[in-house]
């Protein structure tokens, strides 16, 4: 029942968005709204905000008219989104493992926490555009287990770079969340560090970990798309956004198909984390 309600509200929300979009087009002036020299609302003509149906119709049209291998824009966007989803999931897994290992190490050794945590925070202040060319530059220089570095490897690494942070911080918080009395109980029962970790700290970290994974999934998707744009990696939806944006002068609705694809991609990633949420439900609030 609750799930049905979620589905209904999702459809309603989408419909409202479409209505708001078309309403803005109908009501607001074509040139947008300005206060002084600053535009506060965007232009609403067909070039800046194409009709929803124009965008949807574009999905069915061939991507490159006259090309030998025909595929529709919809197929291109779908395959691009799937490709990016794979890279983002890979980035999430790599980032998740890295973040979890860091959190465990920091929870185990106070010295490590004091030494590492500032660096973990600092890592997120380095702009992505500074890292992307650097990572892309590893191509042809590093091989993993004999496999050469592929362009998509760079995208996955950049995506994991964004994803590990919330998991490391969230899990560290979770691992140190059990009450003093509980920890002392385990100690009085002569439970070792591993036992305390498995029976107390890990279950206690779940309520902290789930929102962290949710954040990490979103970050991984954003990271993958931005990395694709930055390094020009072929095959993903990020590359499509910029390719279609190039032809936006003559065909503005096309870019929105790629943007819609990226949005759906984010929703799918969030839904995947929702499944994890269901699987770990029994641990929610188990150790208050």
């Amino acid at each position: 029942m609750a799930r049905l309600r979620t589905a209904v509200s999702a459809v309603v929300a989408f419909t409202l968005l479409v209505v708001a979009w078309e309403l803005a087009k109908a009501v607001l002036p074509e040139d947008g709204v300005r206060i002084g020299d600053t535009r506060v609302l965007p232009r609403t003509d067909d070039a800046a905000m194409p009709h929803v149906w124009t965008v949807l119709a574009r999905f069915g049209e061939p991507e490159v008219a006259g090309a030998a291998a025909q595929r529709t824009v919809g197929e291109a966007v779908a395959s691009g989104a799937l490709f990016t989803l794979g890279l983002a999931l890979g980035g999430l897994v790599i980032g998740g493992v890295l973040g979890a290992v860091l959190a465990l190490a920091m929870a185990r050794f106070g010295l490590l926490e004091r030494a590492l945590l500032p660096w973990v925070v600092l890592s997120q202040t380095v702009p992505l555009i500074a890292i992307a060319p650097l990572v892309a530059g590893w191509g042809g220089k590093i091989a993993i287990l004999g496999q050469p570095w592929q362009p998509w490897t760079s995208v996955m690494v950049i995506s994991s770079y964004l994803a590990f942070f919330p998991i490391a911080v969230g899990m560290l918080r979770g691992l140190t969340s059990p009450r003093r009395a509980d920890v002392e109980l385990f100690r009085s029962l002569a439970a070792g560090w591993w036992t305390t970790l498995l029976r107390l700290r890990l279950p206690a970290s779940v309520p902290h970990l789930l929102p962290a994974v949710r954040l990490a999934a979103a970050a991984a998707v954003v990271g993958a798309i931005v990395a694709e744009i930055s390094t020009g990696t072929r095959g993903g939806v990020g590359r499509l956004i910029i390719e279609y944006a190039q032809s936006a002068t003559g065909d503005p609705s096309r870019m929105y198909t790629a943007i819609l694809g990226a949005a759906v991609l984010g929703l799918v990633a969030a839904a995947a984390v929702g499944l994890l949420d269901l699987a770990l439900r029994r641990y929610r609030g188990s150790v208050a």
Binding site: S230, G232, Q246
Partner: protein, 377 residues
């Protein structure tokens, strides 16, 4: 027990590190077994008509015939070809001369070995009824420019017309598309003859319901204004040019690349198909336009395609040293040293091509007429 675990952890990280091995530096000499020499070429952007000659040389087997196995690396928003080349991740790179000179001044060891585009393709486009026919008319207007080193011809042109770019015009940072010009956000927009200018001609004019026509626009071509700078050139790694094997590879690479461009001059439609097949999504009529316009920048080449013209080079350096952009900076602060360009390899390459009967001057070149379709399709 705990010590055992520590040892295990150390061993695990050692294995992980060992798994990441470094790959030996590419040596661009002919391989011992007489096979093809692997060569990588870094482009400035995604595959499109601007790079048709290199794609055609791969497709038509010109590189293979010269003993090269060429891998073409596409560019991206943050990929700087001259840096990729200087760091040894590619054997050759395509880059604009002013940007490459700026990178050289910051220490990138690269040398121009073939000036493929003999002319600049940068326009400043405005509506015909805006009354902007010359750089001086830009006074008081909203002038779009791309920044990031793509704007110096415009700034030099305005300065030469007696304008102070920082005070006399309103500078606007331009996006990838030309929407800002069509919607009237800016009065004059930067455009490449082979790309953005085609994009406005592929857009529908809301007043007529048909596509915009060239007569709707007024174009300032920096070639006519005397502030044009040299653009796409093949750059090689300066340090590696001391190696005779790399010298030989360079000659063969330049020769096969120019053969590709000669092929695109004589087979515009075929090159359009090659570019579309290489995965460009910009549309077939757009790519045909692009290949045709790029041909105009290369041909005719009286001294032989790819030859670096000393006068054009000197003008480029002059503009690069004197034109001041919106941030008050010039491209370079001192004249580039003697390693910045050399005609040695292109001359050898042209000899090879002439011996094979390839027309490398293109004196009889005539561009075709391209009809653009809506959206470039």
């Amino acid at each position: 027990m705990s010590r055992f675990r520590t040892a295990l952890a150390v061993a695990a990280s050692a294995v992980a590190l060992a798994a990441c091995s470094t790959v030996a530096e590419p040596s661009a000499g002919p391989p011992a077994d007489g096979g093809l020499t692997p060569v990588s070429l870094q482009l400035q952007w995604f595959t499109q008509g601007q790079f048709a000659g290199y794609l055609a040389a791969v497709d038509q087997g010109f590189y293979e015939a010269r003993g090269l196995d060429v891998e073409i690396l596409e560019g991206g928003v943050d990929i700087v070809p001259q840096t990729v080349l200087a760091q040894g991740q590619a054997d050759f790179a395509i880059a604009w001369v002013p940007k490459a000179l700026a990178s050289r001044e910051q220490g990138a060891g690269i040398t121009n070995v073939a000036q493929v585009f003999q002319r600049s393709g940068t326009y400043q486009v405005s509506f015909a009824d805006s009354g902007i026919a010359a750089p001086a008319d830009l006074a008081g207007r909203r002038v779009g420019n791309w920044g990031f080193g793509n704007e110096f011809e415009l700034f030099a042109g305005m300065t030469a017309a007696g304008l102070n770019p920082a005070a006399d015009v309103t500078l606007v940072q331009q996006q990838f598309d030309m929407e800002a010009l069509l919607s009237g956000e800016i009065d004059a927009a930067q455009a490449m003859s082979y790309n953005e200018y085609a994009q406005v001609l592929e857009a529908t004019n809301p007043d007529t319901g048909a596509l915009y026509q060239p007569s709707d626009f007024s174009v300032i071509n920096w070639e006519d204004q005397g502030t044009a700078m040299l653009q796409d050139a093949i750059w090689a790694n300066t340090e590696r040019l001391a190696d005779p094997a790399y010298q030989d590879t360079t000659t063969r690479f330049v020769a096969a690349s120019l053969e590709g461009w000669a092929y695109c001059r004589d087979n515009v439609e075929s090159c359009r198909d090659i570019v579309v097949a290489a995965g460009s999504t910009l549309g077939a009529s757009h790519q045909l336009w692009q290949v045709n316009e790029v041909n105009k920048l290369i041909w005719p080449a009286p001294a032989g395609a790819g030859t670096i013209d000393e006068a054009a080079w000197a003008r480029t350096v002059q503009v690069a040293r004197t034109a001041v952009n919106a941030d008050g900076q010039t491209v370079i602060t001192a004249d580039p040293d003697a390693d910045a360009y050399t005609n040695t390899y292109v001359e050898q390459a042209l000899e090879l091509l002439r011996a094979d009967g390839v027309d490398v001057e293109g004196t009889s070149f005539a561009p075709i007429e391209v009809t653009l379709n809506p959206g470039g399709s």
